[in-house]
Amino acid sequence: MWSSPFITTPSSVSQIMLRVLIALIPGIAFYVWYFGPAILVSITLASITALATEALMLKLRNRPLKPFLSDNSALITAWLLALSIPALAPWWLVVVGTAFGIVVAKHLYGGLGNNVFNPAMVGYAVLIISFPLHMTHWITPNLLGGTELSFAGQLNYIFYGVLPGGMTLDAVTMATPLDTLKTQLHLGLQVSDIRDMPIYGRLAGKGSEMVAIGFAIGGIYLVFARVVNWLIPAVYLGTLFVVAGIFHLADPVHYVTPLFHWFAGAAMLGAFFIFTDPVGGSTTFRGRIFYAAGAALITFLIRTFGSFPDGVAFAALLMNICVPLIDIWTQPKVFGKKGGGK
């Protein structure tokens, strides 16, 4: 029995996911340009781990391997996780985070399409709670002109944890611009003084702001290719801008500009690649507005008042929890039940 319709679009899950991966490439390119190729190592590591654990779980769950391994969803998890943690993180950190995301957050919930939480963000949350120290060693961008670690040195550190003779970890890594901002504000400095520090560029952190622009470029491609819905990035960035703007206008001494929030940390990655993950996101028009606005609010609150350096991952997880309720409350009126029409 074959029910109509008998024709379908050529699009497929793996093709959608592939486009998301392609859209990540500009950001990764900027990453490599400003921070060296270490990120490629962790992306590769995460990808291998993701595919291996995915295959293992499919086997255990008695599912066919080929269609699910080729759907590219595990690769997205791997890439997003790798991009969320420091590139110089030891190899096992990447492996543990990715494996936890795929095994627990994805397959224990029923695999593709059934996970409540974004697997990459679950992996990130586990890492930042379990290994907070290792999650603070971000590579210093080469724009600052300090000591630079060669690729061989990066590899050596990732896999063996050793640095070239006489080099300290502090010399080649630093806290993230968001983290530095928070620490310095606590020390009593003013925003304008902090922003004059060499690690900050025109928008946010030197180098990292360019990576954010790269993600934005890829994200805009996704929106125009209709791979992701425009609504979530727009509402997320809009809300973040408005909330940050209000605080900044009220007290520019202690609150940074909205643009800083946009281009610092994972806001761009989140807006276009994390909150737009359809599986854990809201499915209704109004629901997506709530979902994205809530995510932006949580991001801002954690960044500004919380103790974690960035709030995107927790915003994603917290909003994932709310999705079923949001969806129930925001079911659209169907055709012919709109109360009279016009």
Partner: protein
């Protein structure tokens, strides 16, 4: 101390009076639970549950004297509805006690001797006929309870499966071609 005690006693007396008054004032006539259970049962009146009809079975369930998995014509769906209604766990049919395909009784008119015994057995008066006259079953009213089979002295009643027609045909559950696991039962929906 004493005054607190008095206040508590006073409150409990007041609340007790209110409760007692409402119990009389808003007394529910009959047992609505029985009605609700009866509404779920398929009304075949077949007695396969061991009770003489659907209503008695409903009463027994309401009193907690009978299990919810005794009604084969209701099917698993029926057990699920009862479980939901009563807030208890789903319980599968006992061994060999599951539902059978829907069927209606049919009287072989050549064999029927017109004894009227089946007329008296039919719980929904779906058999017409008179003494020494041939009997026949109104198929549209027959619930398939099989209660007429046993009394017939000449065994002229048989159960006939209902053929699928365009009116009763159902779209089948879509079958996934891809996720064909080695052990298909694990893919089956559980509810």
């Amino acid at each position: 101390m004493i005054s607190a005690l008095w206040v508590m006693v006073g409150i409990s007396l007041l609340l007790g009076a209110v409760l007692g008054y409402s119990a009389i004032k808003f007394k529910v006539e009959g047992n609505p639970l029985v009605e609700k259970i009866d509404a779920v049962l398929p009304q075949t009146q077949c007695g396969q549950c061991g009770f003489p009809g659907c209503k008695p079975y409903a009463e027994a369930i309401a009193k907690g004297e009978a299990d919810i998995n005794l009604c084969p014509p209701g099917g698993e769906e029926g057990i699920r509805k009862l479980a939901e209604l009563l807030g208890v766990d789903y319980k599968p049919f006992g061994e060999g006690a599951g539902p059978r395909a829907k069927a209606v009784a049919f009287i072989d008119e050549n064999t029927c001797i017109g004894c009227t015994l089946c007329l008296q057995a039919c719980p929904v008066d779906a058999i017409v006929g008179a003494a020494k006259q041939m009997h026949t079953i109104i198929a549209s009213e027959c619930t398939g309870c099989e209660l007429c089979l046993a009394p017939c002295p000449v065994d002229c009643i048989s159960m006939m499966g209902l053929p699928e027609s365009i009116q009763t045909w159902k779209w089948p559950y879509p079958v996934y071609t891809l996720a064909q696991p080695k052990n298909p039962t694990r893919e089956m929906p559980t509810s």
